[in-house]
Symmetry: C2
Subunit: 100 residues, 2 copies
């Protein structure tokens, strides 16, 4: 193979992070604007703890970044790659919907 083993592994890690319903909901939640943890939890109807755990995973994986303001912490999508992965995956899914 032409591609390095450790690059494959990093791709696996990256995609594994994206491949979870809770984390996808969080990302869609942040698509338009930054939000703090509690607002996200309310919006996607999940516990504060769960959202916090998943945000950590998303942040470690470079999917989101955060900004502190007083006692609140605002999260937002990190870059264009994240949006693109969401977009293309969505297209793929919607295309399938068509001929099911």
């Amino acid at each position: 193979m032409e591609i390095k083993e450790h690059v494959i592994n990093k791709m696996q890690d990256t995609l594994k992070i994206a491949s979870d319903a809770t984390r996808l909901k969080i990302m869609f939640c942040l698509l338009k604007e930054e939000k703090c943890v509690n607002d996200i939890a309310l919006e996607i109807n999940a516990s504060q703890s769960l959202v916090s755990h998943q945000l950590k995973i998303l942040k470690d994986g470079e999917f989101v970044k955060s900004r502190k303001e007083g006692t609140k912490i605002y999260y937002s999508l990190k870059d264009e790659h994240v949006r693109q992965i969401m977009e293309i995956t969505l297209e793929h899914v919607l295309e399938d919907e068509a001929h099911d």
Copy 2:
């Protein structure tokens, strides 16, 4: 949320399929040309059984398609979305490499 729950779930399923090192290796293997099961197994150094199992998952998820010729079955990438997901994820990973 604006996006439907079952679309999120399908996105999860799609990304889950992509997020495995063995399956990624298979996809990279098929990037340029179609190949049969045994050739893939040899190329990525995996057992025939494992490759067959993973090809089934890739096929069910619309990542690859297959073509029968005699006793052999040739697999190839299904469409552009697959290539794009690989490409963008690769970019994301390589960008991270830069500032580690």
